[in-house]
C-alpha cells in the first residue's frame, strides 16, 4: 500500500494499492489487475477524496502535459489533460489570452478543471470552466475513445464536465480563452461592516466588474469583510515591474498553527489592512493566486489536516442562510482562516454534476479537531439542506449520500456514464447504503 498520494487538505489519509502513470495520450489506459478500480489523479488540489481511491488505484496524469494546438488568432487551445494551468498561463498570457475561468490556485491540471467544472471570481460574468470547453477526448477502460462536444456524444460531454473523473480518462481538451491586453488587473477593494452591506455592495460591484469576491471575518457575527473587485487592465502606456516571490512551509508541522487566537489576530489584521485608494494595477498572479505565493501552505494545519467546506445557497435564501451559517461558525469559536463569499451568475453549467448554479457560495476551512469539527459541519449541513443548497464535491471529505443526492438531482442520470473500472473514495462514500 502506498500512503503518499494525498489531496490538498491531507484528509482522508488512505493507502493506494497501485499508483499508475499515464505515459502518453495515445497509449492504452494502464489498468490495475483484476477488477480493481482506478481514478484519475491530476495535481491533487482537491480538498478531499474525489481524486483518491482508497485500497485501489490512482492514475497519475501529469506526464500528459503537451500542447497540441494553440490558435493565437482566435484564442482556442488544445492541450493534454495533465498540463498545469500555471504552464498554460505562461504560454498564453504573453500572447494576449487568459483562461475564461480559473480557480484560486494555478497548480491544477486542465483535466481537474474539467472534472470539477471549476469556477472563478468571474462566474457571474463568464460562467464556469465547462462553459468554455469546446471538446475533449474521453478514453474508456474498454479502449474506446470518444470525442465529446455539445454536438457529438453530447450526453458524454455533459456527464464528464463536472463528472469527478468517473466517466473515464480525459486525454485532451479544447477550450476557448479570453482576450487580454497585458498581464495586469485593475482592482479595487471595498470594506464592509455587515453582511447587509455586503449584499448591497456586491450587487453594484457585479454590474461593474467581471471579477468579484469577498473575504469575510468568521470570528464575528457581524460578517464584516472586504470585497475585492477586478477586471483585466486595458492597454497601458507603461507596465509596472513584477517578479514572482515564493515562500515555502518546508516541513510538516506536527500540530496546527490555526487556533482561535491566531484566527482572531489574523482576521483583525486582515480586516484592517490598508486598501489602496481607488483603482490600482495588480499583476494577475497575486490577484488570482495569492495563496500560491506560499508553497505547501497546507502544512500550517499540521499533520491532521483540515476540512474545506464550500456550499451554494439559492438566491432567494442566500442572505438568511449565510447569516445563519456565520452565526453558527462564530458561536463555535472555530472560525475559518479564509472565508470566501461570492455570488454565482445565472449561466447554466454544462455538466450533470456541475456545482455552480445561481446563488451565493461560501467557502471555509477548518483545522481538523475531530468530532468537534464534524459536529459544526453537520450543523452547517442542515442549514444548506433546508435552504435547498449543495456542497462542492471538490472540497469535500465527509458529505453524506443524502446530502449529495439532494444537491445533485441528476446523479441518477449520471450512473449510465460511469466507467465500470472507475471509482473513487468520494463516489463510494456518497453511494453507500445509509445506515
Amino acid at each position: 500500500m502506498r500512503d503518499d498520494i494525498r489531496s490538498w487538505n491531507r484528509l482522508p489519509t488512505v493507502g493506494h494499492r497501485h499508483v499508475l502513470e499515464v505515459r502518453t495520450r495515445n497509449d492504452r489506459l494502464p489498468l490495475p489487475p483484476g477488477d480493481e478500480t482506478c481514478i484519475p489523479f491530476g495535481n491533487g488540489r482537491s480538498y478531499g477524496d474525489v481524486c483518491l481511491n482508497p485500497g485501489a488505484t490512482v492514475l497519475r496524469t501529469r506526464a500528459l502535459d503537451h500542447l497540441i494546438a494553440f490558435d493565437r488568432a482566435c484564442g482556442r487551445v488544445t492541450c493534454e489533460s495533465g498540463m498545469l494551468l500555471a504552464d498554460l498561463l505562461e504560454l498564453v498570457v504573453p500572447q494576449g489570452w487568459f483562461p475564461a475561468a480559473t480557480p484560486g490556485t494555478r497548480f491544477v491540471t486542465l483535466g481537474g478543471c474539467v472534472a470539477n467544472d471549476v469556477h472563478g471570481k468571474n462566474h457571474h460574468d463568464t460562467g464556469s470552466f465547462g462553459n468554455h470547453v469546446r471538446s475533449f477526448e474521453l478514453l474508456r477502460s474498454d479502449g474506446q475513445r470518444l470525442t465529446c462536444s455539445a454536438e457529438h456524444n453530447a450526453d458524454w460531454f455533459a456527464a464528464t464536465i463536472g463528472g469527478l473523473g468517473l466517466t473515464g480518462l480525459i486525454t485532451q481538451v479544447t477550450f476557448d480563452l479570453l482576450p487580454v491586453s497585458n498581464p495586469f488587473m485593475i482592482t479595487q477593494g471595498y470594506r464592509f461592516a455587515t453582511l447587509d452591506e455586503f449584499w448591497r455592495l456586491n450587487a453594484c460591484a457585479e454590474r461593474e466588474w467581471p471579477y468579484t469576491v469577498a473575504w469575510i471575518d468568521c470570528t464575528r457575527h457581524s460578517g464584516r469583510g472586504i470585497l475585492f473587485a477586478g477586471q483585466h487592465a486595458p492597454p497601458q502606456p507603461e507596465l509596472p515591474p513584477w517578479k514572482d516571490h515564493h515562500r515555502d512551509v518546508p516541513v510538516d508541522l506536527p500540530f496546527s498553527c490555526i487556533n482561535s487566537l491566531s484566527l482572531r489576530v489574523f482576521n483583525e489584521v486582515y480586516y484592517r489592512q490598508k486598501l489602496p485608494r481607488g483603482r490600482h494595477l495588480t499583476h494577475y498572479v497575486p490577484y488570482f493566486y495569492p495563496l500560491d505565493a506560499v508553497k505547501n501552505w497546507n502544512r500550517i494545519y499540521g499533520t491532521r489536516g483540515f476540512y474545506q467546506y464550500q456550499c451554494v445557497l439559492p438566491p432567494q435564501v442566500s442572505a438568511d442562510g449565510i447569516a445563519d451559517m456565520m452565526r453558527q461558525i462564530a458561536g463555535s469559536g472555530m472560525g475559518s482562516f479564509l472565508a470566501v463569499l461570492k455570488t454565482f451568475g445565472s449561466r447554466p453549467a454544462s455538466g450533470m454534476l456541475s456545482f455552480p448554479r445561481p446563488g451565493a457560495t461560501l467557502a471555509l476551512d477548518f483545522p481538523n479537531l475531530g468530532e468537534k469539527t464534524l459536529r459544526l459541519l453537520n450543523r452547517l449541513d442542515s442549514i444548506v439542506a433546508s435552504s435547498g443548497g449543495a456542497l462542492y464535491p471538490a472540497k469535500d471529505a465527509r458529505m453524506s449520500g443524502a446530502m449529495f443526492r439532494r444537491g445533485f438531482p441528476q446523479w441518477e442520470k449520471m450512473l449510465a456514464f460511469i466507467d465500470p473500472r472507475f471509482s473513487s473514495g468520494f463516489w463510494r462514500r456518497v453511494n453507500e447504503p445509509e445506515g
Binding site: 502513470e21 502518453t24 500542447l67 497540441i68 494553440f70
Partner: protein, 248 residues
C-alpha cells in the same frame, strides 16, 4: 538562434530543456527511439514556438552506433549547421540482474557509456574545425564513486565523466564547451519505481533550468542541484577502507 541536437529527447530532463529552448527561439532536432512520443513532443514544441522555428525528429536506437553519423548528417540537412548537442539518453540498470548477467551488464555499459562516447566523438569532430560549439552530456553523481547498489550504472557514468575531461582538455584550444552535467536524484520515469521521494529529490524542470543556465554560461561541470557538489565531495573523501564496509 542556435541549432540544437538532442539525443534521448523524450527523457523527462531533456524535454524540460526543449521547452526553454523553443521559448528562446532555437531550432531543435530531436532524437529518440519512440516515434509516437517524439511526434507528440514535436507538435507541442511547434505549437509553443513563436518565431517559425524548425523542430524535426528522428527515431533511432542509440545502442546501434551505425545510426550516429547519419543522424548528424540529417540534423545538418534539416537545421543547418548544429552548434549545440545535448546527450541525455540513459537507463537505470537493475543492479542485481546485472550481477547475474554479463550480457546485461555489457548492454547497460553500451547504453550509458559507449553510445555516449560515440556521439560525443562525432560532435567533437564536427565542431573542432569550426572552432565553436557546445557538447553537453548528462552524467550522474553516481559516476563519482562506485557503490554496491548501482556500480554498473556508476561505472558507465564514471567512464563518460573521464572521457569528457579529456575531450574538454582537447577542445579547450578550439574554444569548444564540453559540459558534464551531474544530476542527483530526479523524479522522472527512470526513478518512478522508487516510492517515497524525500528532500533530496529534484524535478526534471529544476534540472532543465540548471542545464540551460550551464550551457548559456559555458560551464565545464555542474552538479544539479548545486548541493550535490558538497555531498559528493564528502562521499569521495571517505577512505576506501571504510567506504567498502558501508552499505550505500
Amino acid at each position: 538562434m542556435s541549432n540544437i541536437i538532442i539525443f534521448g529527447a523524450t527523457s523527462a530532463i531533456a524535454r524540460a530543456c526543449t521547452r526553454d529552448w523553443i521559448a528562446a527561439g532555437h531550432n531543435l532536432f530531436l532524437v529518440g527511439r519512440n516515434a509516437d512520443k517524439l511526434e507528440i513532443m514535436r507538435t507541442d514544441l511547434l505549437a509553443r514556438s513563436t518565431q517559425g522555428q524548425v523542430v524535426e525528429i528522428a527515431t533511432a536506437d542509440l545502442n546501434d552506433f551505425s545510426t550516429h553519423e547519419p543522424l548528424y548528417a540529417k540534423a545538418a540537412e534539416v537545421l543547418g549547421m548544429p552548434d549545440t548537442v545535448l546527450v541525455a539518453h540513459g537507463s537505470l540498470p537493475d543492479q542485481k540482474a546485472c550481477e547475474a548477467s554479463v550480457d546485461l551488464t555489457m548492454c547497460e555499459i553500451r547504453t550509458n557509456a559507449l553510445s555516449v562516447i560515440s556521439l560525443a566523438t562525432l560532435a567533437a569532430n564536427l565542431f573542432e574545425p569550426r572552432r565553436e560549439g557546445t557538447i553537453a552530456v548528462i552524467g550522474s553523481v553516481a559516476g563519482d564513486r562506485g557503490r554496491q547498489s548501482n556500480y554498473v550504472y556508476g561505472a558507465a557514468k564514471g567512464m563518460v565523466d573521464i572521457f569528457l575531461q579529456g575531450l574538454r582538455n582537447r577542445l579547450a584550444k578550439a574554444s569548444i564547451t564540453v559540459l558534464t552535467i551531474k544530476p542527483g536524484f530526479v523524479d522522472t520515469p527512470m526513478t518512478a519505481h522508487i516510492p517515497t521521494k524525500g528532500a533530496l529529490w529534484a524535478t526534471p524542470n529544476d534540472i532543465g533550468q540548471g542545464i540551460i543556465h550551464a550551457v548559456n554560461h559555458k560551464r565545464d561541470v555542474v552538479y544539479l542541484p548545486w548541493f550535490w557538489r558538497i555531498i559528493m565531495l564528502i562521499i569521495r573523501f571517505i577512505p576506501e577502507a571504510i567506504f567498502k564496509r558501508l552499505s550505500l
